[in-house]
Symmetry: C2
Subunit: 156 residues, 2 copies
């Protein structure tokens, strides 16, 4: 079993009283190297490349566990099912209601807001998600360039 998992995360599992097992290491590793938001099926497939016997149920169980420990977090984009990301760091999306297009943006002054909220509500905050919903430029163009009546193709 080769793995390059951060000792820190392994410690967090161990200290919380959980056993360090190959499937857990595999799932953890898959999400750590995350360049994408992966769904449970994809996480299963990737985990199986690390530990071939990994079972589907265990992936679900591990995701639930890691979520409770605040290590990962489900994120929902459009009407796709849940995908999982590391629970640290922020996510900032512009979401088009019409076509589902997602644009990511960076700058965000939510962190200062987060500090106030920590004081006010006593939460210990580790990350945030900020999503703006609207219509993307492309869809605006489509809407504008033709009246609804003449758009035979709009309703499916």
């Amino acid at each position: 079993m080769i793995h390059s998992m951060s000792t820190d995360l392994i410690q967090r599992l161990r200290l919380a009283g959980y056993k360090i097992t190959p499937p857990r290491l595999a799932v953890l590793e898959v999400i750590q190297r995350e360049g994408e938001h992966l769904n449970p099926q994809e996480i299963l497939e990737q985990a199986q490349m690390i530990h071939a016997q990994t079972g589907r149920a265990t992936v679900y169980r591990t995701l639930e566990l890691l979520t409770q420990l605040g290590i990962v977090r489900p994120i929902y984009v459009g009407d796709n099912g849940p995908t999982y990301i590391r629970a640290d760091g922020a996510h900032h999306h512009l979401v088009c209601s019409r076509c589902g297009r997602i644009v990511e943006f960076d700058a965000c002054d939510a962190d200062s807001m987060g500090c106030e909220l920590e004081t006010r509500f006593g939460f210990r905050i580790t990350s945030h998600l900020l999503e703006f919903y609207g219509i993307c430029p492309q869809c605006q163009a489509t809407d504008a360039s033709c009246s609804a009546e003449t758009m035979a193709d709009l309703p499916d």
Copy 2:
């Protein structure tokens, strides 16, 4: 068919080329009077109080349609499935990763950020969702009051 649906919303449907039907009016009305985030099952049940024959598939189809039109929007809280809300207005949540507790808060300076983003990306923005993730005061207390080793009850 008694309904108190805003003429405006009905116009939006009509202009987009869709027919005004009892199930659509029913679903629309249920979400308009929303005091809660309702899931598809609950929306079906409520819609059936308005139009008894409303079918499940139609509720799903209508929710998809209204989402595309930017009238409603799915929102995911904890690991419950999707629930639907009006697409206008903002939502602000503090979410506890450990126990799933949700606290809503009001003040939010995301709107000004929204304006900048409209300029920068050309989106027409209608609403936003801002969620902070962390550990709630209660769960912090639990974690602190006993060391992991002695907490026989932590791992299920």
